[in-house]
């Protein structure tokens, strides 16, 4: 078969890129290795009758323009923002659950710290302002460092209308904030250790950095792109879980004329006469196209799919050196009933359980969990962020039963001694121990635990080192340095090969933002016109 473009990978960015290319008049096929579309944004059965958001709890920010252009609402994706963000235990035995409403949240915080309560509205405004500026950056191609001087880049950045709103002061705030450790940022604003611990988890989500590491404030702000003011730790909720988004995207793609092939793993990108010519699927057939768009992560694309002889070895070194380092193990618990949560005092209200439940009592506890992984091990007391998706979407489990999903950090990708069954069991035990501190009887109602360590995520989703972000979000892997400067605008040095995955700008868990930029770059490329 001959197409104009072949998109490798039917994840969110792959589907978005495919739709835009098809709308631009290209004949497009998407080749997905797995049976299900969505990449890491999937909701899958992990125990008979129980489904969970396998790899991520939030489908991420879909740029408004993508929602509109692809008519995602018409295709069934209508996310609502979660009414509550973070829940965390406090010393008096109760839990605090922060609603998205700024005023309500502030009055709840008043009980913990009047000072923190007073600062909450300004903090929410700051997060909204700075992450709103990032959103502007994320809707434009990465600055082109090869063509421009540093001062040009700053000028270009300042073109965004939000920057004019941000003003000089805001610009300074941004440049000062993003390299900061999230712990320092939170220390500047708040005093309550439990509040800071819960917030700090949002600065280290899926990155192999502790809250004391530089650049984690960027992760925190990045995480809030597209969320309205006050939605600290906010998530998008859709019936059916995060996997609803790729279903809508696939429907949009098919409506635009895209052929979507599942169980079609690309074994090799075929190169002829110095440019791409097509792909060979692992089952043997060859599809031809002059444009190949890979949504696989850059390490996987360059490291496994194409003859390295076509590239500068120096560039491939840079690709090899991209930090992937998925730090998280995902655990999904099939529960026969809703667990009772209490932390020494009264039972937490069910409403409190709708948020993201952050268990660490202090930022230091999170950092200590990171220490183990930093030295090649697995945290004995992992930092746990739990969610019970069945509270909002009972369809994910049999009647009366519930699912509890855990984002557990940190583990080294290749811990000393390797990932044995015993290590997985110990990890599962450590998480259950952690949960028992707030849900004392949870072990009694667990029917099944699925443990997905970084190598499991890698095998399942093809994400190198289990990095669901397709490369750590860090300042040296950001903007025009994502994935590497030579490929930051989605084109690669090999004619006809493009990257559209989360490993490219802006990537890192934004839903479709990379795909749309890649498609626009391809469509405006003179050679493809």
């Amino acid at each position: 078969m001959t197409y104009d473009a072949i998109v490798i990978g039917g994840g969110v960015n792959g589907l978005v890129a495919a739709s835009y290319l098809a709308k631009g008049g290209k004949r497009v096929v998407v080749c997905e290795r797995r049976e299900s579309l969505g990449g890491v944004s999937v909701t899958e059965e992990f125990h008979p009758g129980f489904r969970a958001n396998t790899a991520v709890d939030d489908a991420g920010w879909v740029p408004e323009r993508v929602m509109r252009d692809l008519a995602l609402a018409r295709h069934g994706y209508t996310p609502a923002f979660a009414a509550s963000g973070l829940t965390f235990p406090v010393d008096d035995g109760t839990a605090v659950s922060l609603p998205a409403n700024v005023g309500e949240a502030a009055s709840i915080l008043h009980r913990l710290s009047p000072a923190d309560a007073a600062r909450w509205p300004a903090f929410c405004a700051m997060v909204e302002r700075l992450s709103g500026f990032l959103a502007v950056l994320y809707e434009a191609p990465a600055p082109d460092v090869h063509a421009r001087s540093m001062s040009d880049i700053l000028t270009m950045m300042s073109l965004g209308r939000r920057v004019r709103g941000l003003g000089k002061r805001g610009m300074i705030d941004l440049l000062r904030t993003i390299p900061m450790p999230v712990s320092d940022l939170l220390d500047e604003w708040f005093e309550h250790p439990g509040l800071k611990a819960a917030l700090s988890l949002l600065g280290v989500l899926n990155v192999q950095h502790g809250p004391y590491s530089g650049g984690t404030s960027l992760v925190f702000l990045h995480r809030h792109v597209g969320l309205p003011e006050g939605h600290i730790g906010g998530r998008r909720m859709t019936p059916g879980g995060v996997g609803r988004l790729p279903l809508a995207l696939a429907a949009a793609a098919r409506a635009a004329g895209v052929d979507v092939l599942t169980r079609s793993e690309v074994a090799e990108i075929v190169v002829e006469r110095d440019r791409v010519a097509g792909v060979r699927l692992s089952r043997g057939d060859v599809l031809s196209a002059a444009t190949i768009v890979s949504s696989a992560d850059p390490r996987r694309t360059f490291g496994t799919m194409i003859d390295p002889g076509w590239f500068d070895p120096g560039m491939l070194n840079a690709i090899d050196n991209i930090r992937m380092r998925g730090p998280a193990t995902r655990l999904h618990l099939a529960l026969s009933e809703l667990p009772a949560f209490s932390s020494g005092g009264s039972q937490w209200p069910v409403e409190a359980l709708r948020g993201w439940i952050a268990l660490p009592r202090s930022v230091e506890e999170v950092e200590r969990a990171y220490d183990a992984a930093k030295h090649g091990g697995i945290a004995a007391q992992p930092a746990i962020l739990a969610t019970i998706p069945t509270l909002d979407d009972p369809s994910l489990a049999p009647t009366g039963a519930h699912v509890l999903s855990v984002q557990s950090q940190y583990t080294a990708y290749a811990p000393d001694g390797g990932w044995t069954e015993a290590v997985r069991a110990a990890m599962s035990n450590a998480v259950l121990d952690g949960l028992t501190r707030v849900a004392p009887r949870i072990r009694d109602i667990v029917q099944h635990v699925q443990v997905l360590a970084p190598p499991d995520l890698e095998a399942r989703f093809g994400v190198t080192e289990g990095s669901v972000l397709h490369g750590e979000l860090a300042l040296d892997q950001y903007l025009f340095m994502r994935p590497i400067p030579e490929c930051a605008r989605h084109a690669t040095p090999l004619e006809g090969l493009w990257l559209c995955g989360s490993g490219t700008h802006p990537g890192a868990g934004t839903a479709g933002a990379s795909g749309v930029l890649a498609a626009r770059a391809i469509l405006s490329n003179r050679r493809n016109a």
Partner: protein, 397 residues
Amino acid sequence: MLRTTPLHDRTAPLNQGRNWRRWAGFTVASSYELSHDREYFAIRNSAALLDVSPLFKYHIAGRDAARLLDRVVTRDVGRTQVGQVLYTPWCDARGKVIDDGTVARLAEHSFRLTSAEPNLRWLGDNARRLDVRIEDVSDRTAALALQGPSARVILERAVERDLAAVQYFRLTTGQVRGRDVTITRTGYTGDLGYEIWMDATDAIAVWDALIEAGTPYGIVPCGILALDMARIEAGLLLLDVDYVSSNQALIDAQMSTPLELSLDWTVAFDKPQFNGRLPIRAERERGPEWRFVGVEVDWVSLEDVFTSLGLAPRLPTQAWRTSVPLYDANGIEQIGYATSGCWSPLLKKYLTLAHVEARYSSPDTPLQIEVTVEHRRRRAQAAVRRLPFFNPERKRA
């Protein structure tokens, strides 16, 4: 501390002037006698024996060994036969030359690469997903060059067999006093000659055997000064002297492409892949901006410069390695620079190797060259010459 080569026990007592120089971290003799004249004439008239052990040597073996080399070098290694040796440069992804050396196909899946500078990391970087082993054998492999018209007869005596069948840039194996050697018909003099590769522990025995076999034929241990003159006559370029490795260059203008070094013949454009292929091909289409040529300084003009100051002409007694400006025939515009030069006692000509703008590269194009006489910069007439300046039939016969 600089290291000594496996032949130091023999070369040190011969070095009358303690005249050592550095080569790749080793000490080697500049000349053994107080003047290098006799060593130079041995290269051209009898036979010279040179310790070239400081060369970097890599053994590359495995199913994909040829494929690795074909990714790296510009010549077509896959098409060479076992027993063949190639001279070749290699480039970075931009087509800028990194280094040059020889590739010897020792067996179907076994090669030896020589280079002027370390290349182990670059080779490793190019070996992604290839079934190949790369080993730096520089330290355990010694190398001797036997160069000159009597080289064959001397070597035949040492290995006790006829070598007439070993053609130019071919190799054979043999034994010298029971020690295994690989013999390549290669060298850096542009003359009849061989290079002998052996285990470092056998080097002294092989040296002794060659000296013994060569003494009746006037063999002379020879240092780098004489070699440098011979290689200029032969038109062979030298890294760090005639060009700068793209690894070391500080600015683009310091780098050279194979076409700018007039190594067009070494570029196998029909190979599907090698580092720098597309930029070099594009350069071929538009024509290189620079060429590497021979430039001969006009004797009469040079003499005039000296006599105008009341001096007899003075000629360099050694090869020089500095950058000397070249101008167009009218002396108005600088159009290039010579990077090596020497008086050739054999040809009785003042020879230089030079980079010139491509439009000045045709043979016999008149130029001017800067000559410093009595602290003042003068110009002498010069002309572009075809390389090599000296190319005896015996080299290939």
